[in-house]
Amino acid sequence: MRLKHYRDLKIYKQESITGYLFILPYSIGFLLFQGLPFFLSFIISLTNLRYVSKLDEVRFVGIGNFTAMIHDKSVIEAMLTSLKYCLMYVPLTMMLALLFALILNQKVYARNFLRTLLFMPYVSNIVAVSVIFSILLSPTNGLVNTFLRSLGVENPPMWLLGTETALPTVVMIACWQQMGMQMVIYLAALQDVPRELTESAEIDGANAWQRFSKIILPVISPTTFFLTITTIIGSLKNFSIIQTLTEGGPGSSTSVLPVSIVRTAFGSFRLGYASAQGMVLFAFVMLITVIQWRGQKKWVNYM
């Protein structure tokens, strides 16, 4: 007697049915709340949709929204601001995260307590953070500037209220709040670096810097690769932190692309145009990921 193929067995059929039933509730919700919006964002970006209640007025405008963007100074500026934010935020956060993870990985005392202190801002509420910092960094009577004046600084920075300083200040606050996550992931990677590698290098006379640059850095490069991608993506979806800290101001100095999207959609009710800007943001994310993915062969070592 030949054995039946397992796909023809009754137990497999039952298992299949159970499987579909188990994923059914989730799949419906997924299609409705994740799949459908993503699919629609392509379509909406090709229309002149303004109000959800007046769907009969919607016209298909092709790539009109995208060509309009090229001449729209405020959108171009928003893209550049997003880029500046990304260029400041990503290196700063990654370097500080690695630095603190390296220190925590040494034989420091009270390591868990210190890790908690450094991680704590991550779980904090962004609006609460903005309330605190707007008072701490108030140019006239905030604690930071009072302190700077007492040190003899005559014109302390305007922080969140200065056109030049607002973006770097937001970056610093964002880094303070979010760095803990990268740090903890780096710390886990550092704890996985095989001891025999660093120890044998030490016996062979490698100094601390050589051990770091020639052994530790290459070994943790997959983590660096992963973190770089997620940190860049994270830095491009910064609506919440910008809106709560500066609302895109002063002027348009911190109006990043997500802020522009929300304003276009819910301030001037141009949903189609806003969706097109969202597509551009998505294209940036994909582009960066593809570049990283292609480039990883050169510097990422999988053991």
């Binding site: 298992e15 299949s16 159970t18 188990f22 994923i23 509730p25 989730y26 799949s27 919700g29 997924f30 409705l32 709340f33 459908l36 699919f39 629609l40 964002s41 949709l49 603190f100 034989k107 420091v108 005392y109 210190l114 890790r115 908690t116 202190l117 450094l118 704590m120 779980v123 904090s124 509420n125 962004i126 609006v127 609460a128 953070v129 309330v131 707007s134 008072i135 701490l136 108030s138 009577n141 604690l143 302190f147 996550m181 990268q182 903890v184 992931i185 710390l187 997620t230 993506i233 491009l236 609506f239 919440s240 809106q243 959609a265 819910f266 969706s275 969202g278 943001l281 994310v285 990921t289």
Partner: protein, 294 residues
């Protein structure tokens, strides 16, 4: 000859001791450095708690006092006065987060079980499609999300926040990875003994996957509680607003009352920080092992 050896050994051991001392001093230095950085790091929180107990004229006082000179409670009392919706926002946020946790646990557990344990046609392809959407940042789809929720009629209700968070892809992935690490022999033995899959999930997988579920609950709580963009876009009715956007109204509406803002900020942070401190083992391990999204 042997004398030489002994002196060499002595010299060597004294070097070792010096090395040890040096290393000790180095580590003490690093610890001290980290304590300073850590203190600076949590200073904003200390400032917040201390200011929330100060009368208005002492908040900007320099040099800063951690312990208020005049200890007052009227900032907190003021928050709960009928002039503000603070209590209501607090309740809204709590109900919203708890509903998210409940719905999420019901839908995600079985899906992750199916992806890790059951064989059916197209399983891995469906899973990959789900995973691919992790690459899409939420800011990109904000407009179509608004359109879809409007059509479903859930804008201005907490469901516009509960449902999208409940169907989050990330935790399907995380739970699946965890379920795969539970020995298959356990579940297969149960099947042979006549358990159906529902029972296997309930009696074997759930008890064994407790850490993963706790991680999911903690993250869901913290992300839901701290979410700003969702309520900002989807909820316009002040009474139905969530805490995060609600307390922002304190900032714009009552600009001069800094003590009140600080008290509101403190009460917003308290549940999350308590949760984090009590469950940080799960939280940090969850981050480290699964590489949570940023």
């Amino acid at each position: 000859m042997s004398q030489d050896r002994i002196s060499y050994a002595k010299k060597k051991s004294s070097w070792l001791i010096i090395d040890k001392l040096k290393e000790n001093a180095f580590n003490k230095g690093l610890t001290l450095l980290l304590f300073v950085v850590g203190a600076v790091n949590i200073f904003p929180f200390l400032f917040m708690i201390s200011s929330s107990f100060k009368p208005l004229n002492q908040i900007f006082e320099f040099p800063f006092r951690l312990i208020p000179k005049d200890f007052v409670l009227n900032n907190y009392v003021g928050l709960f006065s009928p002039d503000y919706y603070f209590k209501r926002w607090y309740a809204n946020s709590a109900i919203m987060v708890l509903s998210t946790i409940i719905v999420k646990s019901i839908v995600i557990g079985p899906a992750a079980y199916a992806f890790s344990r059951l064989r059916f046609r197209g399983r891995d392809k469906i899973f990959l499609i789900f995973l691919a959407t992790l690459m899409i940042p939420g800011d990109v789809t904000i407009v179509p999300r608004y359109v879809v929720y409007k059509m479903l009629g859930i804008t201005d209700t907490m469901w516009s926040l509960v449902l999208p968070n409940a169907f989050d892809v990330f935790f399907v992935f995380m739970l699946r990875q965890f379920f795969v690490s539970i020995p298959f022999t356990l579940t297969e033995a149960a099947i042979i003994d006549g358990c159906n899959h529902f029972k296997v999930f309930y009696k074997i997988i759930l008890p064994n996957a407790k850490p993963a579920f706790i991680t999911m609950v903690i993250f869901t709580f913290i992300w839901g509680w701290n979410d700003y963009m969702g309520p900002y876009i989807f909820i316009t009715d002040t009474k139905r607003q969530m805490l995060t956007v609600g307390i922002q109204m304190f900032q714009t509406g009552y600009a001069e009352n800094y003590g009140l803002q600080m008290a509101a900020a403190a009460l917003t942070l308290v549940p999350v920080i308590l949760l984090f401190l009590s469950a940080q083992k799960f939280f940090i391990e969850g981050v480290a092992t699964s590489g949570i999204k940023g």
